[in-house]
């Protein structure tokens, strides 16, 4: 160890702005994420892998009135968005908290908003990458039919944005429930898996019991899947929805409500330290 420091920094200097620090955090989050091959496979690429299996194996096995790839694409798209937001943030932030990463950040002059801006950039980078991967694979490899008009694409866009924001906030709130990083993956994965089977991702909503549907409709995934079906499925398929219609106004209302509830939960529960740190 050698060398010396230069003169002391001048006394009256301006702190870096929230936007600049936030962009820098976003870039760092994305670079860090892509170095973890487990998360790249299991949260980012999993929906595309499942779609490839379903499209190859299940095609023509059940009478769903359309090719398997078209049938499963909207639900898996919704699931993928929840995966990169809810699962990535729920488990990731709990690990950062448990291992002191958050506390270290809090010990620097980083503006707290910059941390959340960084997470937002990470999640939207993953959500858009996910959309490109999933839609690309299904269209190029399996010839899936994608929306053919601007109205349906705008539905895709707003469902993607509202659903991703709602699930991100829910994920940040859930991260505070976990006492350790190991507990976090269970707390995140188990409810997420339960929702996948009750929200119309793997099992069509038409065959789900009313009680199950009622519980699942309290959470965002069911509404995200419904919004995506509205954009991807032919209009005639609306007859198979529980109310016989796409009910996009209810989708917007439910996801909007989750954004509001999620924000409140995050503001009430977010901590930079673990419980044992006081």
């Amino acid at each position: 160890m050698s060398g010396t420091l230069g003169g002391a920094p001048a006394g009256d200097v301006r702190l870096p702005g929230t936007l600049r620090v936030g962009l820098s955090r976003g870039w760092l989050e994305i670079r860090s994420f892509t170095r973890e091959w487990e998360s790249v496979i299991f949260t980012f690429a999993l929906p595309a892998l499942i779609l490839m299996m379903f499209a190859s194996v299940l095609d023509g096995l059940f009478d769903v009135g359309m090719p398997a790839v078209d049938h499963y694409l909207p639900g898996l798209f919704a699931m993928g968005l929840m995966s990169v937001s809810f699962q990535t943030l729920g488990a990731g932030i709990a690990t950062e908290r448990d291992q002191g990463g958050l506390r270290r950040l809090r010990g620097t002059p980083m503006p707290p908003a910059a941390y959340f801006l960084g997470k937002t950039l990470l999640v939207f980078f993953l959500a858009l990458g996910q959309a490109v991967l999933l839609l690309g694979v299904s269209a190029v490899v399996f010839g899936a039919s994608l929306p053919d008009n601007a109205a349906d694409w705008s539905t895709v866009a707003w469902v993607l944005v509202l659903g991703t924001v709602a699930c991100s906030l829910l994920g940040i709130a859930v991260s505070s429930l976990a006492r350790t990083a190991q507990a976090a993956s269970t707390i995140v994965v188990v409810p997420f898996l339960a929702l996948q089977f009750t929200s119309g991702v793997f099992v069509p909503v038409a065959v789900l019991p009313d009680g199950v549907l009622a519980v699942a409709s309290l959470f965002p995934l069911l509404w995200m899947a419904q919004g995506m079906r509205a954009a991807f499925y032919p209009d005639a398929m609306a007859a198979f929805e529980p109310s016989g219609a796409w009910d996009l106004h209810l989708v917007a209302l439910a996801l909007g409500a989750w954004c509001a509830v999620g924000s409140a939960l995050v503001l009430l529960t977010f901590r930079w330290k673990t419980r044992k740190d006081g």
């Binding site: 160890m1 002391a8 920094p9 001048a10 270290r104 503006p111």
Partner: protein, 297 residues
């Protein structure tokens, strides 16, 4: 610019019925290396965390760099640096990128290459933090603590797990920082570390300051009775005395040539320290796992 960096009076912190910090007074001038010693559960970490602004106090007054840490803002945080006790999660990007990123949080950071050179990580600049050895990982922690050019650096158990050579190197780095005018608050379990680095040492036990002073005078160490021992006719002899020079002179007159196995021993910092904490009933194992574990939610 004030010459006192840390000023605490009557500092009090309770966890339920347990009083972790029971009226601590501290005053640390600019440029000093100040060490806090004490057994587990003595209130060290709680005291330091209050000074860092990471814990709220229940009583007393605190000024650190002229502000109350409880509620001090970003500008204040830009003037302090913290080297945490435990390793903490770092992003999975190369060492240089980690440093560059954290430098971007500060208004006037040091150059990344300067800091890499200073902590001896220039050759590891492209390595990932998780691939570094324990000692190098610790140097990265120090690099992150000083990248912002802090006026006050908190070092919490910085050399735990170091081999002796790495510890000596690390001490060189800390002395270097102190010479450049950084005020350093060092918490440590290693008494020789406090002795090697600190201008003044404060011994905490049971939430109170038990002794405060330069390491070589702490607890009356400089004026304490010395033990002169030697060997005579194959028998070990020793005398406790306030005048060891006179005793040795008398002995020298009685022997022809060397006094066999002559030793003059003054209490080490460790002996003084153990005496101080035994007086208060604190031992290394007291405090049921340390003050952190006792903190409620």
């Amino acid at each position: 610019m004030s010459t006192t960096v840390i000023e605490a009076a009557g500092l009090l912190k309770k966890y339920g019925d347990h009083t972790a910090v029971a009226g601590v007074d501290l005053s640390v001038p600019r440029g000093e290396v100040f060490s806090v010693l004490g057994p587990n559960g003595a209130g060290k970490s709680t005291t330091v965390e209050i000074l860092e602004g990471f814990r709220r106090r229940d009583g007393g007054t605190v000024r650190v760099l002229g502000a109350d840490p409880q509620g001090a803002g970003r500008a204040w945080r830009a003037r302090i640096g913290i080297v945490w006790q435990q390793e903490t999660l770092l992003p999975k990007v190369p060492v240089r990128e980690v440093l560059r990123h954290f430098a971007g949080h500060y208004p006037a950071p040091h150059g990344v290459d300067t800091i890499l050179e200073l902590v001896g990580l220039t050759e590891q600049a492209r390595a990932l933090p998780e691939s570094l050895s324990g000692g190098r990982r610790r140097r990265l922690d120090v690099a992150l603590g000083i990248i912002g050019g802090p006026e006050l650096l908190f070092l919490d158990e910085p050399t735990t797990g170091f081999d002796p050579k790495a510890r000596r190197d690390f001490w060189g780095l800390i002395r270097n920082l102190a010479e450049q005018g950084t005020t350093i608050l060092l918490t440590t379990h290693y008494l020789e570390e406090a002795e090697a680095l600190a201008d003044r040492v404060c011994v905490l036990a049971r939430g109170r300051v038990r002794a405060l002073g330069a390491p070589d005078t702490l607890g009356g160490r400089a004026t304490a009775q010395a033990t002169v021992s030697w060997s005579q006719d194959g028998v070990r002899r020793e005398v406790r005395t306030g005048e060891p020079t006179r005793v040795v002179a008398d002995l020298a007159a009685g022997f022809t040539g060397e006094i066999p196995e002559l030793r003059v021993h003054r209490p080490t910092l460790e002996e003084v320290y153990l005496g101080l904490i035994e007086d208060t009933g604190g031992t290394e194992d007291a405090g049921s796992g340390g003050e952190r574990a006792e903190a409620p939610a």
